[in-house]
Structure formats: C-alpha cells, structure tokens
Symmetry: C2
C-alpha cells in the first residue's frame, strides 16, 4: 500500500540555498511578527517550537507567518513529534548574503534600544 510513516509524509518543502531570493528574504523580514520570530531564533536556542513563541496572533496566522519564513528561505522547519521545530538558516543566508542577517538583527536591536530610551 506504499504506506510510509506519518512523520515522513509530513516533510516540508524548503527552497534550495541557491533558490533563495533577496527580495523574498527582505519581504519576510519586513513584518514585525516575523522579525520578532527571527530575533528570538537568533538570540535563543537554535531550534524552537512554534508554540514557544507566544505571538500576538491566532494559531492560523502563526502558521501563515512561519510558512512565509520557510518559503523565503529564512528558516528551516522539521517535525519533531507533535511539535514543529524552527531553526534559522543562518549559514545558508550568510553564504548567500554575507553580513545581511547580522546587520538586520543589529538594526532591530538598535531600534529597540532607541525606543526603550
């Protein structure tokens, strides 16, 4: 019956490194919710479950934002039991666009600092 394991059937599509486009990455990062996700991935553990983010949006919107990040090549997602783990594709991004992610993260931090005073 070509019955593969349920987990294996839940593989997620990711763009290959060379297929990642700068415009898509910038667009993905231009949304506050998504940028906050990327910042938490950069600052915290390398793999974090969707549910651990506590975003100010509904679950379905959450799913949407994580998909945008994945399809733009910013994050990698894998299923781990019931959880879906997210990891920054920082090495891929750094090969493609050296220094870009670092600069964006630093910019976000700088802006935060300015707002906090």
């Amino acid at each position: 019956m070509t019955r593969q394991s349920a987990t294996a059937s839940r593989e997620l599509e990711h763009p290959a490194r060379d297929a990642v486009r700068l415009e898509h990455v910038l667009h993905a990062l231009s949304d506050p919710v998504r940028l906050s996700v990327v910042r938490r991935l950069a600052d915290g553990p390398p793999e974090q479950a969707c549910s651990s983010f506590d975003l100010p949006v509904s679950k379905s919107t959450c799913t949407h934002h994580f998909r945008v990040l994945r399809e733009s090549g910013v994050i990698n997602q894998v299923y781990r039991g019931t959880a879906k783990m997210n990891a920054l594709r920082d090495t891929d991004l750094d090969v493609l666009f050296p220094g870009l992610l670092t600069a964006v993260l630093a910019a976000a931090r700088a802006q935060d600092g300015r707002e906090a005073g």
Copy 2:
C-alpha cells in the same frame, strides 16, 4: 498674502531620522523595482532625477515607488525645476542601522553575479 514661491510650496514630507522604522525600510527594499532604484543611487551620482531611471513601469507607478522610498526614509527628494532629484539617505541609514544598507547592496550584487553566472 503669504505667497511663497511655487517651488517652496512643493516641499516634500520626509520622516525625521529618528522616525525611520526598520520594518518600513525592509519593506521598501523588498520590491525589485525599488531595490533597483536604490542600487542605481548607490552606484551612480548622488542625485538623480526620477526620469533618469527608465523603469519598466508606467509613470504613475514610478511616482508610487519613489514615494514609498521617500516615506520609508530611504531616499530624499527635492524639486529642482521641473525635475525631482533623488538621493540616498545613506548617512541617516548608517547612523540608525549601521551596515544594513551596505549589506543589502552587497547582497543584491552577489545575487546578480550568481544569476549571470
């Protein structure tokens, strides 16, 4: 009659440096047409007229894109006779988000190089 010169009355609104938001800048740069404008401003003379860009869109769309760039704080626009001159706000951006513009421009060049092979 408090009649100022017509040119002076055509002042354009720009966000103050501290009002520039990272999300808006990233969004402005995430459009291919706008990114190409920014690249030409970075590579060419510091002030360039809208008409000198020869973009693959209509004049009204052109106006729209330049406005997005201005309102996000990426470029400065001034009238100079009938022409509207555009300049990158690179020093402002570099104060706010050090290295960001450089990284984006380098990324755009890298992507171009990859496509050209």
